[in-house]
Amino acid sequence: MTRSRFTPTHVGTAALGCPAERSSAVATKRGHSGPALVVTLLAVSLATSCSRKTESAPQLKPTAFGAAIVESSGGKQFAQTGSLLPQPVVVQVNDEQGTAVAGALVEFAAVPGVTFDPSNGLTDSSGQLTTNVSLGGMAGRYQFVAFTTDKSHKKVELKIEEIALGYQQTLGRHLNDQYCERCHNPESTVERVSNYDNLEVKPHPFTEGDTLNKISDADLTAIISHGGPALNKSALMPAWGNTLSKSDIQALISYIRAISDPPSRSAGPVYAKD
């Protein structure tokens, strides 16, 4: 038995639904005719099962080469673990002058469990490629890479980060949408007008990691439960301790920690492809 079969990364893939199951089962059944056949079939099925997707992708030939790859939109989104990001990720390939390049080959790569639809493609007439991204099954930050090659066949990379929310953070996000966001998020939408600008003392947006990361969990709990004055801050922050339960407040804090930018120390691991 080799060690590599049991590395934690491999387990991660299997748990996330690598389609090996049925093919290997079939292989075992047929294998009664001879042990050699069992070994071959198992080996083949093991080798192909997890890489099937990438192999079937058509080989694309770039018609042009860029010098840089930049993010147009879709970075720093939140989604539940294993789910599609709400917005697709759009990247753009530019040449040395910063003009968009059409027909450049862009590929996406990430840790196992993250899927891209499509996982590669040529940039369109505006130099962009759009992909739908599903995050892996573990809560945390996912860093993936979009890369293209320049004229000298050198890899040009762009790192993009997204955030996967576990159960607790998803609950926190729900509570944030209901109770907090109207004041703490300065962005207004058609459906939901922000109250941020109307407040004498500006609340901290929850992505404001520079400030919020310095406040301990205990202090955040105190502010949320007893209101701003508990920490000599503005009374415009009301006390929520009689409205939200203790576990609600913990969920909110875990959401705030998960989305803070720069990341909080307790935000959990980063899943990046080496």
């Binding site: 748990a15 009374a235 006390a239």
Partner: protein, 681 residues
Amino acid sequence: MKEKLTSLWQKLFGDNVRAFGVVSLIFLASLAIAPAKNFFSEWRHYQHGYRRMIRNRSDANTLQRHFQGGIQQIWLPELGVVDRCTSCHVGLKEASLADVPNQPYRTHPVIPHKLDQFGCTVCHRGQGAATTLSEAHNSTLAWEQPILPAKYIESSCGECHRGPLPGTPQLNQGRNLLSRAGCVHCHTVKLSDGAVMKATDDPPSLSHIADKTTREWIFAWLKDPQAYASTSTMPNFKLSDDDARDMSAFLIANSTPMAGDTATLSAKASSDPAAGASLYGESFCASCHAVQNAAGNMVGGDVGPELTKVGTKVKPEWLQAWLRNPRAYDAGTAMPHYRFNDGQVGTLSGFLQAKADSDFLANVHLEAATPEQIAHGKRLVSDYGCASCHEIAGIKKPENFAPELSRIGSKPVTQLVFLPGMQHTLPDYIATKIKQPRAFGQGLKMPQYTFTPAQIDSLTTALLSLNDRSNTLPPSLAVASTHESDYQPAGKAGKLMADLACFSCHRINGHGGDMAPDLTWEGSSVQREWLVQFFKNPGTLRPSLIRRMPRFNLSDGEVNELTDYIMTVYQNPGIDRDAMPLGGYSQGEVELGKQLFYGKYACQGCHIVDTKTDKGYIGPTLTNVGSRLNAAWIYQWMKNPQALRPGTIEPNRAMSDEDARALTAFLISQKGGAKQEVAKK
């Protein structure tokens, strides 16, 4: 060769001693197989790995103390759980291992349940009793259920939790869609509590369709509903031109006229777009109906149909009759009966009729239908199950038209047909079936929906939660959902409320929509005179709302009828309206209330009392709250808002009686006067 073998045989078994020795060796070796297998087992490997990993951590001692070697098992007989997952997933309960990137050593994310009470496979599926990775995670010949992919994990919450949960948005959305997208018109879904899932959409009756629209429009609509309205929930049946021609012929021929709809135009359709737009705005049509604007964005609600191209669809006579009283054509419609006068009907119908797209019907040319075509159309209408959703005169609603889905989440994989390239798992089958229903064979009837990938995932999640376990759960574990009540107000006022479709937006006693405030205790909450004025000229209480109460042009008699009913019937038994006066509080109390409002409780963050200084944009404007609310209601609201309106976002401040009384005194002194418009951002 033969000699070599013979000599080997001689060497090993040549005499009794040798034979005994060799046989003993073979025997001993075979005895060692089982211990060796045990020694090299996967779980032992992972436990070794775990101990190696924790050795270098600062909390090594604690972790080492918690560590238990050997096969671990969670056994819960009443759930049928025998889970040995913790044999390899050693760190699940160690909170400090949240920084470990991957399983099997990472701590389990925080959930509301304890592993010891529910085990692992209840949520994650897989084979709990297995002690090897592939048998536990994957499906084998003897075990069908592999580990559930993370994106569908909320389906397992839905096995016990029958209602929506705040932490499971995907499951909630999926369940909603099953009702809203009309899935349950054709597919029966019996819920584990015995109820049958009901559709919440309201497909129109087609029995009088010829009054409303033309055969050409029906043809084009049947061919591609989303070409007419991108938000339409009607699926695409992928009909051939001939089939769409015959079905439209049948629907027109089958339609009977309704009195009133075909009457000559009584109001002159106005061509004043400014007046039309202003009446459309004043009537808050956009609270329910969406229109796609020039930038391509949908503006408006999704209660009623999209109106972007409505002029291409409806006949002018029908539209005017509908605007005059929609209930004459469709007694159960969610559209209120606005009491528009002739001039308003003309203005609005002219405005809507101008929302047309001449290209939509440009290429539709239909010859007069032959009796054969009509007969064929009728057959098609039956075959496609149109009557499952729509009422069609002469065609019965088919029963069990499509497979029942009550236990779809446990359907054996051996009974499924897979497309080439698909993963052979149940979730993948369900998702693909929703995405491309017709790809699974010839002659399938399920139409093509226009779900987004996220909607497909949430539908799949909801369907996976309908499984054997959800149906055979010990009753003690089921968490009931609150079903919509069938509350109906009584008498004349009840009829009036039905006519005005109050329940399309408002909820009362557990029945109705959630767009507007719950009115269950409205009689305790507001003052009679305010309510009368509000009916005559509804303003908005919250400055930032875009969906608002329309003006129904009610007569004085109707206003009195409604107001009397609301003030008498919608009373909270815990609130005595007359317990506190509407005035006469001491100046000191009012002053104290003002200090509390602006100081201790900082209410101006969300509310406006003085339009010059306050900017709060979230809660209702309170400039004239003293003329709107009852003092006793304000007092009780201060004490515990959630007790009066569950789910309200006003925080419960646990106020002392004195604070609540002072704030009541301050607020009740805000009599406002003329309504002040709040500047929009």
